[in-house]
């Protein structure tokens, strides 16, 4: 028995050694061109489902395979580029939107793309609310085809900003295929047919591969013929992938990026454009936090530059209490509000605000009024170590000036449920935002987004309720006039400074690494034609179309 054993072990060892010598990976692209490997770690294997309406699978199909009516660039002040729709027009007091549909576009199975497909897609969302993740039907009353190439959208109420969701966020699907699907909500759509520049050619749980669409409606694009996106389970292996030069386009958070990545290869670089605010959301029903002076004091007591440097390696710039992300949305910034805000870090002002409100430092060095100390817990996502680090710096700063703040990192799954249900005193989180500051402001402040404590609210987690602000937001939603829009935003910024319903701390950035000696055409700060992160739909598709292999 022992002899047979030893034989078995020897055979195993031999196989091992032999195979490691023969280790080979064949990854040559379809046309002999080296494929572009993307680095987008999601912490899981790929489901190989490409249903463009479900948030669990749309990141892998919208942008590359499925396209939208227009492309709106958040980094160029919401500039609109016609895409599947060649033109659009508002009418009827901004309650009717008419799109002219582009001609000459074909689906990847050869059939022609028409206005009927657009009308069909939107009515599919009406029929199956589970697919309407952007809630466009909360403001639409009907979508009908008009003539051969126009589609008319009738709104039940003024909602001009919904243009972004209708035109840039709804992927258009082919009627001749989807009308045959019995249950589009649970159909994984494993072989997606779209109008986009890339066709999904092969999907395994470990890797998704796309090849360029030879019949794409934009002539000459795409220039990169094969694209791979391997599945990474941990941040670390994904970062290694970039550091070892195997990927030229990444979406990772990399500590010490200069030495870890940039220095390793000529052409390696990064750009982190700010797009939203990561803020402290105070639970406005909690005693102490329902006091304006306390919230303002918190805002002035945070040294945002220091939080950014120590917690985030300086990658995420300090935010402004006005809520305007700079430099991306600086054109919206109100000078009046900025002046009212004054210096963003002013611990003396923080203390004096509290003292004027009747708070006094007690024996433990904490501000108190009527025996109640200002002591709060801030919850943050336990899965993001950089957020935890940032909060610890912030907590120490506030505790030093007399507002005791302790950090409570919570496991991701619990974190979101706690935030949505309002089970917190302070929460550190980010909203999704949009191509202009209005979207974030509306998510923060619109009372109808919220829900009573204990019930899940999709946004407005602090439970802010102001009819005046609601009115301003609705007013903005009814107009296309830029001057009116700016005036409303100015007023909202002043309210942000005066009432501090949310306390923006840092600016959330797009994580983006590139190598521009292997590929040209990446968006840059001088040419920000699209948001560069791989997890933005449909922007990542737009970027891939612009890339060109060098050498």
């Amino acid at each position: 028995m022992r002899e047979k054993f030893k034989g078995g072990l020897a055979a195993l060892a031999f196989t091992l050694v032999a195979s490691t010598c023969v280790l080979g990976t064949s990854v040559a692209g379809a046309s002999g061109q080296v494929p572009l490997n993307l680095d987008n770690e999601q912490g899981m294997l790929w489901p190989c489902s490409f249903n463009p309406f479900l948030p669990t699978s749309s990141p892998y199909s919208v942008g590359l395979t499925y396209e939208t009516l227009d492309f709106i660039d958040a980094l160029s002040n919401a500039q609109v580029t016609p895409w599947l729709a060649s033109a659009y027009a508002w009418s009827n007091g901004n309650k009717t939107l008419t799109f002219t549909i582009r001609s000459g576009v074909k689906w990847t199975d050869g059939k022609p793309f028409t206005a009927a497909d657009v009308a069909y897609t939107f009515n599919l969302l009406k029929k199956y609310p589970a697919l309407d993740s952007n809630a466009v039907w909360s403001v639409l009353s009907s979508v009908t085809q008009s003539g051969t190439n126009k589609v008319v959208f009738d709104f039940s109420k003024s909602a001009v900003p919904y243009f972004y969701y209708v035109a840039d966020q709804v992927p258009i699907v082919p009627e001749h295929i989807w009308s045959k699907i019995s249950n589009p909500v649970t159909n994984p759509v494993t072989a997606p047919v779209g109008t986009g520049g890339y066709i999904m050619s092969k999907c395994t749980p470990q890797n998704i591969q796309w090849t360029a669409n030879p019949k794409y409606w934009q002539p000459g694009l795409a220039k990169v013929k094969t694209v791979n996106m391997p599945a990474f389970l941990t941040n670390n292996t994904a970062n290694e992938y970039l550091a070892t030069g195997q990927s030229a386009y990444g979406a990772q958070f990399i500590p010490n990026i200069q030495s870890y990545f940039v220095a390793k290869k000529a052409g390696n670089g990064y750009w982190f454009p700010p797009v939203a605010n990561v803020s402290l959301f105070p639970n406005l029903t909690v005693p102490g936090l329902n006091d304006v002076a306390v919230r303002q004091a918190i805002s002035y007591g945070i040294n945002r530059a220091s939080v950014s440097k120590i917690g985030e390696y300086g990658y995420e710039p300090p935010a402004s209490q006005t809520g305007i992300v700079a430099p991306t949305f600086s054109s919206w910034s109100s000078s009046t509000a900025m002046k009212a805000a004054g210096s963003s870090y002013d611990p003396a002002k923080a203390k004096s605000l509290l003292e004027k409100d009747g708070y006094k430092l007690d024996s433990k060095g904490v501000f108190a009024k009527n025996g109640k100390e200002l002591a709060f817990t801030v919850i943050t996502n336990g899965g993001y170590s950089d957020w935890i680090a940032a909060m610890q710096v912030l907590g120490a700063q506030l505790t030093k000036i007399g507002i005791k703040v302790t950090v409570d990192p919570i496991a991701s799954s619990n974190f979101y449920s706690d935030v949505y249900a309002g089970k917190f005193q302070l929460a550190y989180n980010v909203e999704s935002g949009g191509p202009s500051p209005f979207y974030e402001f509306r998510q923060w402040l619109y009372s109808k987004n919220s829900a009573p404590i204990g019930q899940a609210a999709a946004s407005n987690w602090e439970r802010y309720n102001s009819p005046a602000v609601d009115a301003l937001l609705n007013q903005y939603g009814a107009t296309t006039n830029a001057a009116t829009q700016h005036s409303i935003m100015d007023q909202l910024q002043t309210i942000m400074v005066q009432q501090a319903p949310i306390i923006p701390v840092l600016e959330e950035v797009d994580w983006f690494q590139y190598n521009n000696k292997e590929y040209s055409g990446f968006p840059t700060s001088k040419n920000p034609y699209a948001q560069p992160a791989l997890y933005n739909e449909p922007d990542w598709g737009v970027v891939l179309l612009h890339l060109k292999p060098l050498s």
Partner: protein, 299 residues
């Protein structure tokens, strides 16, 4: 009174044996040291274990014998502070589990018939169902297990092995002469069980206690490692969780990930060594053969 005498006698013989057995001594010393640390953690923690005031990711130094974490906490202090939770889980789960095992195992063996059939069936079913995945699912639904919840779950899943063992031994003792004599004398069942049946099984019961304690420590550590424990408390398993989530090994902080494991291993070894020693008391054939009487069985 007789019960106490019998128990005392059994324990005395056990300790005599233990004193001579090196394994047992080693185990006992380890456990004693850990008990002291868990009772008085402040004597051993130079710093507040959760204070993030040092430079993150520092290496080994006199101030930080095991370095610091990514958040700037002292690893050594955390290690010492975490001792209490692990030792407590071991002792509490071990104790409650053993009571359950003894109760069910002996009742089944003594009663016989339908009661035995039912209890044995229940024991076997609980024994074969893989408990770790079950515990994972339960704690996942609860979102995270507080200390007592974890104790409850561990006890529910940990008693069956001991019950089975004790039942087998009780069965073999049940029909011995002295027990039959006691029954003939008219002693009540309670008397027979507690005074005549249990004392000879003492060593096996102690072995079971230690086994259950070991099971509790390792399983609790596993649960905390994947984040199902309470990640805000100080324990060795939670240290491992934070270390793993911050990829400690890859960023050059191996001690942060390895030290808590060593601590768990030390506690586990102490329990395992003593467990084995008590197993040897219960089954004399397993005792080490002294070199004088050594006779090679095979050539």
């Amino acid at each position: 009174m007789r019960l106490l005498y019998k128990l005392g006698d059994a324990l005395r013989r056990s300790f005599d044996f233990l004193r001579r057995d090196k394994k047992a001594m080693a185990g006992a010393i380890i456990l004693f040291i850990l008990l002291v640390i868990s009772a008085f953690p402040n004597w051993f923690t130079p710093d507040n274990p959760s204070a993030e005031i040092y430079s993150p990711g520092a290496g080994v130094s006199w101030a930080h014998p095991l370095g610091t974490t990514s958040f700037g906490q002292d690893v050594f202090s955390q290690l010492m502070a975490g001792t209490r939770q692990s030792v407590m889980i071991a002792l509490i789960v071990g104790f409650i589990s053993t009571i359950l095992s003894v109760g069910i195992g002996i009742t089944a063996a003594y009663s016989g018939g339908i009661v035995d059939d039912v209890l044995s069936m229940v024991t076997d079913v609980v024994l074969v169902i893989p408990t770790f995945p079950l515990i994972i699912v339960i704690t996942a639904y609860l979102k995270s297990a507080s200390f007592w919840l974890m104790v409850l779950v561990l006890v529910i899943t940990g008693w069956s092995y001991g019950a089975r063992q004790l039942r087998v031994q009780a069965l073999s003792l049940r029909n011995r002469d002295y027990l039959l004599a006691a029954k003939a004398r008219g002693e009540s069942s309670w008397y027979v069980i507690s005074v005549e049946l249990i004392p000879p099984m003492t060593s096996l019961i102690v072995a079971n206690f230690l086994g259950a304690a070991l099971y509790a420590v390792l399983t609790a550590a596993g649960l905390q490692f994947v984040g199902l424990g309470n990640i805000n408390t100080q324990s060795w398993g939670t240290m491992l969780y934070w270390a793993q989530n911050n990829e400690a090994l890859s960023i050059g902080l191996p001690l942060w990930a390895l030290a808590p494991g060593v601590a768990i291993a030390v506690l586990g070894s102490g329990l395992a060594l003593l467990n084995y020693a008590f197993d040897e008391i219960a089954n004399p054939a397993l005792r080490p053969v002294s070199k004088r009487r050594l006779k090679k069985v095979g050539a």
